[in-house]
Symmetry: C2
Subunit: 167 residues, 2 copies
């Protein structure tokens, strides 16, 4: 239930988040009808939600021999889970946003009606976003175990920095 509500605040609808939570906690693959009655929502809703979760790569179909129904399991590795969510959000939202920002910044460059300050801020935003995007792209290729170590290091990471790297 909590997972469902939380989802709502992040632009994921409640049913989708609830189904995800249910599958995450389930020790065996579930099919649509069981999910629908467990959560008390319509099967059609489950069907659509499962499709969305599949689109995010957070669940996958598993065949159960002797049962025609589609069964689903959730990815249970949490690092993998956040990686996939991040990948989805980036692709659907961040990338188009950067593209739009690039267009804005370029147009502002030529438009005398746009003040110097606005131009500068657009540029700053674009630079920042692109820096973050680059960081993300690189971190994506770091193995999860290494990432976990980095995270656990916390701010002690700073100690290992070369002194004043490239000023």
């Amino acid at each position: 239930m909590h997972w469902g509500n939380l989802g709502g605040q992040w632009g994921v609808n409640r049913s989708v988040a609830q189904i995800h939570a249910l599958l995450y906690l389930s020790d065996k693959p579930l099919h649509a009808e069981v999910i629908a009655e467990t959560l008390g929502i319509a099967r059609s809703n489950v069907s659509n939600s499962l499709k969305e979760l599949t689109g995010w790569n957070l669940i996958r179909r598993v065949p159960i021999s002797g049962d025609r129904r589609d069964h689903f399991v959730a990815e249970t590795d949490l690092w993998e889970m956040v990686t996939r969510i991040a990948a989805g959000r980036k692709e659907r939202e961040i990338d188009p946003a950067i593209a739009a920002l690039r267009v804005c910044a370029a147009q502002a460059e030529d438009d005398p009606a746009v003040g110097a300050v606005a131009r500068r801020r657009l540029k700053a935003m674009l630079d920042f976003t692109q820096t973050m995007e680059g960081w993300y792209a690189q971190m994506l290729h770091v193995p999860h175990a290494t990432l976990a170590k980095l995270i656990r290091l916390g701010s002690r990471i700073v100690r290992y920095l070369p002194v004043k790297p490239e000023a």
Copy 2:
């Protein structure tokens, strides 16, 4: 406009995001009425949105001498901006979620009706979340300039780590 739409997908309503964008690009403090007519929305809506943005610490009131109206400016340092957004989201959403998760995990511990797998997964989720929370808390105290260096390093950071840090 783009900023506004993007906001919608992240649980921030359009007006709020649009006003934020407008203030971010403006070179001078603006008051409610100017914002309302610029964006074509009702002043009451602007009033509420300004309150919300203030609650997130993304804008602040600045007094203009000889003018009774409240004028607002946005935080323009992008590092500061993301820090504040992160702080707000954590406080309002992540912290309650962790609290709920803790309760769930604790109850599951004593409840024989909860399977071993579900118990284990709840525990894993809680551990993961707490690890991330700890990391966030530490990173919060790292100066922006240092953070920026870390980000620009990207995955090259791995090179500087002591080999196999604490296994």
